[in-house]
């Protein structure tokens, strides 16, 4: 299976990643090799598998309890930009 540069560009958009033209060439080649390897899965007969759930024991929710959480300063402290206890994001609406 060959993946086109246009498909790679579309995936890059979905992934919010930029690639230079030079990087795209190398990326397409690596990507095709990996996809060909992964494509071997298509040959496996899985008609007997009825249910894709893996582990059932983790479907219990704990009680919702009020507990102390991190302080505002702790949470905001790692933000590249913050103001008065808020995250600062780029302008979305002018």
């Amino acid at each position: 299976m060959e993946i086109t540069e246009n498909e790679i560009k579309h995936l890059a958009t979905l992934s919010r990643l930029n690639f230079s033209e030079e990087e795209l060439g190398k990326f397409s080649a690596d990507f095709t090799a990996i996809l060909n390897y992964v494509n071997e899965l298509q040959k496996v007969d899985t008609s007997q598998v009825k249910d894709n759930t893996i582990i059932r024991e983790f479907d219990e929710l704990r009680e919702d309890e009020v507990k102390p959480s991190l302080s505002n300063d702790d949470v905001i402290g790692n933000a590249p930009k913050n103001y008065n206890g808020y995250f600062v994001a780029p302008t979305v609406v002018e």
Binding site: A12, R16, L17, F19, D30, A33, V38, L41, P80
Partner: protein
């Protein structure tokens, strides 16, 4: 630095009978770290907090308080595990300046036991890699030979133990990231059963596969650390409500009589490296001669596990890494046109190539038109693999395989061929796919002078059986540390 060569078990006894203090141990550990700096093992050394904690432990001991076996012992943790006030970078440029605002549950447990976190270990970026060469802060070198990789992604953690910088380390294992570096560095590494150890506060790579586990010099040391970190955590939805065990107290029986060891030919069909073949044959002969029975089992779909792994782990990684937007933490680009452009530039600047490759692959298998053919197909094959292991464990107690298809390779040898790099994990990945525990123990040395590892796979929550078999092998057949 003779003391740094000791096992955790031994220094714990020495601390208890006061023939050494924790402050002395921490100083010895800091000396060892500075004399092995060229291997680029640690990203951050916690000298100040370590010395302060060591003084506190020594004071408690002087007052006659009852202490845990880990009290006062220097331990290294992987740099994707949060510890308040330390950097948690995941060896990524994206998180270069990120300081954890809270402790991971495993760190809380270590600190409550009085263990001293001495440093945070380099790794493959976001745990994606098998050689610790994708680390954004330089490659990690194997302490047994500077020219070789330490394996990955927990290459720093395994190296810290092999270089005698500490008496144990925590790693994480999504597809072999504890066991393969343990094999490459000649140390002992356990990937616990999925759900046994909390991942709260550990940066997620592939949440349905990730697990935290100990890397140590000996098998018994490994049990001491697992005793501390295992157990239910209400902060984690996938934490298992498994009865608390003391692996150190109950695992070691010093006998393997009547043990059934499963041999699956599928593990060995593609194996070409004669060093690896011989080391496993040698182990099989040893087990037979000591009263174990070798049972033929079959795992027909194990050859598909690696493809399953790359579909599932990349899909989950793409989702987990979507939160890295440059607003809440991490890299924020300075120049941009609008908010979308801001995301593009921040992510492109922050992530390395391997991480970008996995995000792209993940978004590919999750995109409409491909979801059924890749993601759902991989989940179905995962189910087949799980049932095959379940059938196998009706016939045997543990399953034996090599940990990796080769010993450590040279730095740079595989860095330009991602697929060849992925094949390193061919024996370790099925274990994560099937949510099982497995341990890697040293089992010989290859022609290139680098250590080899043997993997023992157990049924869910059978860590104590793995420890017993591995300990018996280490004591009576092969130990890289020499028999004492």
């Amino acid at each position: 630095m003779e003391i740094m060569n000791e096992s955790l078990e031994n220094v714990s006894k020495m601390l208890a009978d006061k023939s050494i203090s924790s402050v002395e141990l921490v100083k010895a550990s800091l000396d060892a770290i500075s004399s092995t700096q060229k291997y680029n093992i640690l990203h951050e050394v916690c000298s100040e907090s370590a010395l302060k904690s060591a003084t506190e432990v020594d004071d408690k001991r002087a007052r006659g308080e009852k202490l845990s076996p880990l009290a006062g012992v220097p331990i290294v943790i992987k740099d994707n595990i949060s510890m308040k006030g330390t950097y948690t970078t995941c060896s990524s440029k994206f998180l270069e300046n990120y300081k954890s605002p809270y402790n991971a549950t495993v760190v809380d447990k270590l600190l409550q036991a009085g263990a001293i976190v001495i440093g945070k270990a380099n790794m493959d970026e976001f745990a994606m890699g098998s050689s610790s060469e994708t680390c954004a802060f330089g490659v990690v070198h194997n302490p047994r030979n500077f020219d070789y990789v330490p394996g990955g992604s927990s290459g720093g953690s395994a190296s810290a133990v092999a270089a005698d910088q500490c008496f144990g380390a925590l790693g994480t294992d999504t597809g072999g990231s504890i066991r393969q570096p343990s094999s490459f560095c000649g140390v002992v590494g356990l990937k616990p059963t999925y759900g046994l150890v909390s991942r709260y506060g550990v940066v997620a790579f592939a949440s349905s596969l990730d697990q935290v586990g100990p890397i140590t010099k000996t098998v018994r040391d490994n049990a001491l650390i697992l005793d501390c970190i295992a157990g239910y955590d209400s902060n984690e939805f996938t934490s298992a409500k498994h009865q608390k065990e003391s692996y150190y107290q109950t695992s070691f029986k010093n006998s393997i009589k009547g043990l059934k060891i499963g041999y699956a030919k599928e593990f060995f069909e593609s194996l070409q490296n004669q060093d690896v073949v011989k080391s496993i044959e040698n182990a099989i002969e040893f087990f037979k001669a000591n009263g174990a029975e070798i049972v033929d089992i079959t795992l027909p779909h194990i050859k598909d596990a690696l493809a399953v792994y790359y579909v599932l782990s990349s899909a989950e990684a793409a989702s987990n890494l979507a939160r890295f937007d440059g607003i809440k933490y991490g890299v924020a680009t300075k120049e941009y046109n609008d908010v979308i452009d801001f995301y593009f530039k921040s992510r492109t600047q922050g992530f390395g190539n391997e991480v970008k490759r996995r995000i792209m692959l993940g978004n590919f298998v999750l995109s409409s038109g491909y979801f059924d053919a890749y993601y759902n197909k991989a989940k179905a094959v995962q189910n087949l693999i799980i049932s095959e292991f379940a059938d196998a464990f009706n016939l045997c107690d543990v399953i034996l395989s090599p940990t990796a298809p080769t010993s450590a390779f040279k730095i740079g040898e595989k860095v330009n061929n991602p697929l060849e790099m992925y094949l390193n994990d061919i024996f370790t990945v099925p274990v994560n796919i099937a949510t099982l525990p497995a341990i890697s123990v040293p089992c010989g040395v290859a022609q290139n002078g680098m250590p080899l590892g043997m993997q023992l796979i157990g049924n869910r929550f059978s860590e104590s059986i793995l420890y017993n078999v591995a300990d018996y092998f280490e004591k009576n057949c092969y130990s890289i540390r020499g028999v004492k």
